[in-house]
Symmetry: D3
Subunit: 290 residues, 6 copies
């Protein structure tokens, strides 16, 4: 093909080959258990289209995407309408990446897609800790009689990992029983509403292997309207930046990460997608550098 | 409660009690197999909110909703994420209405919701014919290896009814094999692109029991953008009016009807919802009067 | 001020001084009796902003705005919330224009603003006929117990003019009694749904003084979504063009005109406003040339 | 009717019967004096549609809607276009609720609807104090020569209550004379821009009967774009949460409340409506529990 | 990379390699001379994202994309802000495709991008004829004193080709002089407003080499709002289908084609992009098969 | 013309004649080098339409537009597509204002329009200092090989003014080299991310002549989505208010100002335009009073 023609459809500066890459970014376009506004299936694709709107250099972290080998490998091809089968397809992809000694960085989809990545990771890293950023508890035992749901995903992770391994921040919505699960019974650590304690928590996790899952609806709906279940009273982008700086400064090993719940068709002013792109850049720099 | 306060949430002039009603309108808020843009789950609710924008009298049909006993019974409560179970829940509701000697008029949801209503109807009326208005063939044997899908629903109806019972109009998208199924092998009758032959077909069906299913994407996307899979080149609203007049003039018995695939969150100018409301008024008048 | 700076806020090529003008365009930003979606108060202002998107030359009429003396005189300053007072303010403006031997061309606002212009005109031209283009009958005796309403405006004009003076086209929504008022009792002439008979009617009106009122919701909502009460099944823009050509060819005297019910905040794709601008250009050319 | 069908159109968990209810929620769909962008008439209806997006439990207040008897009684049926008559209709509804020994919680509509509720309340509770949250002073003696206007409503309340009874917070727009009325002449208490002093004020009001009126445009337009007169520089949702916590902690008796000025058709990303739903939940919990 | 991951960013079924392809599709993301609403630079990228919404089979033409070797080669990398240089970059790409014995099919960008493709084509095919579909004449000698402009592009083509080689259809906006250029002086053939004569014209061109340029604003704004200069009164999609059928039936050789002026950020309901995708499918099938 | 008709198209209360004015506001509708989302050409026009939504009195500054002589002189008429010529046209207008002993206050347009105003100003005031508020560094030597670009504009100003004259605030995006230009090599003063040091800087500038340029994308995209390159993590409107208060309190002479990069067609909820209007009011009050 001619030099002047280019058909790259990868996220900004994530153009390493799969073989050369240390971090593999992939999309998991699944929104099948979404109870309110669906559409997160379109997130990764839209982010690739919009990623030219940001720069490769992060002044916050003083790191640059161009200094790392990151491959945006595209979206997982998923079956249609069979939740358990879809989760196994995502787990297969995550396991492949991990077995190739690379780190997975997933773009959801709804939050349930975190579960198969955790299942793949614990086979290699049984002692991982999870930093969970979200507006919602996601701790229900079942939701509409279903065990596999965006509203139960962290409870399912707890089924695997048990007490003392999950740290929740920014939570501001859920049933009273879910808050009690964390705040009274201490099955997880939870800081409701805010993210002030991240710095202390990552200090406690010094030397540990850590996975980060960010439900972008932790951000206030003013900053991130393009999501299925917007919940007023969220954190600002600057508060999220304090999280990134705390993680950069911490002595932890990041074994992977994900960001979920961008629903671009509700992003009428197109700024949620740009927020998601910037979060992905910062996450990728953290995963690649730690 | 005080006289001046009212909390009606029923479609315009469809306020008969269930017991008194001859026609029962209900919503089936399911969009679980949608492959492109989801959101038809919100259709019935949004139509109720907007129905005040039209009148009860149809100058086209010279009939008035206020002269009939129609009950808008609300939405079916559905399980989450288990397609076969959801279909059985819809069938149960439809069967109840039919057994109470009333006619069902359903608002989708995606097109797959037509299947359980047909299943309920054939138990009472084994010889029904279906008039199918749509942009898409919906005749695939499977879609993504699934037999139950919005893209297979008319094929599933054919499984039940067999040759010579399904009449398709306005079809302008599908695989070549699907067009061959109809146009070469004549398993169904099909008029591609247009609806000119409706008048002749309903004359042929004189004295028969007939069910109408309208996938609103038969309308051109200019008229009906608020749908999951808009397909350019559709019919105009006035062409749809010729269908309504032909049915009114025909000597057929309408045993029920549905209209599907309004996805209101893509209806940015809010006119698709008004189109759907007007179609529901005309359909209700036809079902009630014939 | 410097030559390079310009602060014109007039509609395209309607920059004659009031004194020099033969036709005076003005806005009547009133939407106080709107029952469904308000906002026509913003129509004239938005049209001025968007009018650069069209040309001054009409290939349909083979006439050019630059060949006529037309003044866009701005919006009428209106009181707030007192309907009778507001109508008298509009009548005062219209009467001033008429007394200055100029023709009024008004941009609504809701349809009720037509009434004061008719009241001003009949003082000078007691024998005018009205060509009324609309989706709605507007013939109610009262609406919500009010005699002055967008839904009663043509009935109020009939109170003034009596039988045989009002010709209604494109009507497709109303109460049965309103259709009977026209079609059974012949108080007005009415062609429901379409505009085919305009050519014959204007031939009958040969030599007469005629006023044109266009409720833009006569157009199908696909063409004109930006209006308070969109009604499916309307005419196309090309059908409206046949009206303009018939009027151009007719031997009538146009004493004024109006176009109403653009509600620009519902015009999400910004095409209703362009349609309104083009209609205003054609109307202005007709009023100026006949 | 069948069990599986439901047609509830009430706000989330506000399903007590009117007779059993301690708090009666109702809508007042009036926007007749709105000077800029109209449309608040649609607020209560849209909030009912969207209220499923939030939970019944408030982690902020540690209270749950399911523990209280609240009735969403629907919207007041209003006359069309006659402001004094409409206000008397709202007052009649409010008076009925108060006489039935229930507390009114109103959803506007424009801010003028607060006036008839205050008029009804002072007949039973002549000594009420008003906590007023708003971007705008609303203290004009007249607006466009009208005494009854959204821009004069608090001045009208002051006409009834006099000095020392009205506390205004978050005010950031108005005429200099209005600010002087409060800040120089001390007819009302005013904290411009912010809400820091709410805690102190409610401490001063210990033992008193208090009414809360929240004009939602007190929130920054980034958080609440869906309103008629957005005013930059508003408070954040978290700052509003400090207000709710202060009120919960205070020793006051809440005799009623309202929230006004949601205009859902300007809420393109649909987050203003969710903000309004969450505010209504918190307000309802406060009114019910205090 | 793993089998399950795919990062194709090519238009539906246009996945041949450049070497194997008979038709090469490419984007020309330039909108630098746009006078009204810019944004066509985003068209090709957005169409690739949305092309999954249509099928590969065209029932209109009874042809299937999967039966042809078509390569979507991506967008031309363009300099910024220097119009002549940008045009030479596009010409270089087109010339490369032509010299490789493949046919170019370009997605604009504004209409000016047609010029460099014509310049490249005439070097190989000096006798080409152009079928030009558009709302606008595009025949000005200069626009704002510039010779290179979206409003002059067909005049520039005429500079190259001379009289009797350009056929214009659907034109409904321009200056009187431009219409005279075609209709009085016959420098081009022009059918204003409609496309009825395409069948006759292509019959006259039997045996000739033909290039097709479609400015998508030939379609009515109801069908295609997402464009820079929407012009009411355009053709319907079905009328465009008669063009495609006439071309398929004609005995002409298609040497290339383009479609221009999709501006996706104005496509609020996302249907203009689907229209553009379907037009590209039909155009590609015509270019590949003729 | 009649008294009741008015066609003012000037920004709120900026109705002084050019001759009487001390401050001249004008628009520079140029967006020709915009690399991402264009459309700032529409900013000034849209702001005039929306300015009625705010008041003339600023409670923040305790100043009122009605107390100053400000002329909104309209938009500069610009050539099309020739960047150097366009810049000279803007410079000519700015020089005229300055030579008439008035202060220029410009509404962009993209940021490049600042350059010709600076070029005009330095001829009269060679020692000006620039306060630059922005999300982006704008310090590139070239962008896409172009020296004149929105991404190089502050570097071009530095070419004129040299070290120690430019103060940058709120910067959060750019290449590492650009940050080094400021933070390591100190060619400009830069406070990244925030605006805390404005108070100290203006104290240092006591007695100096100062020009203010505000790229409105310094505000967080939640507050200001309607811009070409939204960048998450920006300042709040209240933080911008601290800037205005610091400038009011400082002992500096304002010789002019501009605000750029409002792109109203991306302002779906219409709040960015209101933010821009309020910023213009505060800027105008500062320029007029200092």
């Amino acid at each position: 093909m001619q030099n002047r023609l280019s058909n790259a459809a990868q996220f900004l500066a994530m153009e390493a080959s799969y073989e050369d890459a240390d971090v593999v970014v992939f999309g998991a376009p699944f929104d099948g258990t979404t109870s309110y506004r669906p559409g997160t299936r379109f997130a990764a694709q839209q982010m690739r289209c919009e990623s030219d709107g940001i720069e490769t250099y992060s002044p916050l972290l003083d790191l640059d995407l161009e200094d790392y080998s990151i491959c945006d490998a595209g979206d997982v091809a998923l079956s249609n309408g069979n939740t358990p089968k879809i989760l196994s397809e995502i787990e297969e992809v995550a396991a492949g990446i991990i077995n190739d000694h690379k780190k997975p960085l997933m773009i959801g989809g709804e939050h349930l897609v975190t579960l198969p990545v955790i299942e793949a990771l614990v086979k290699k890293h049984p002692n991982i800790h999870i930093l969970h950023f979200d507006a919602h508890t996601d701790l229900r035992e079942t939701y509409n009689n279903e065990k596999l749901s965006h509203a139960t995903v962290i409870r399912r992770c707890w089924d695997i990992l048990g007490d003392g391994r999950i740290y929740q921040f920014g939570i501001r919505s859920g049933m009273k029983q879910e808050f009690d699960f964390a705040l009274k019974d201490h099955h997880t650590y939870m800081e409701p509403f805010t993210v002030h304690s991240v710095k202390d928590i990552v200090a406690q996790l010094s030397g540990k292997k850590v996975y980060i899952t960010i439900d972008l609806d932790i951000l206030d709906p003013s900053i991130f309207p393009g999501t299925g279940t917007p919940e007023p009273g969220g954190i600002t982008y600057r508060e999220l930046e304090t999280v990134f700086k705390a993680i950069k400064a911490a002595d932890i090993e990041l074994v992977g990460a994900d960001m979920v719940e961008l629903s671009p068709h509700y992003d009428t002013a197109n700024v949620s997608t740009i927020v998601a792109c910037k979060v992905l850049r910062e996450l990728a720099l953290l995963v690649a550098s730690k």
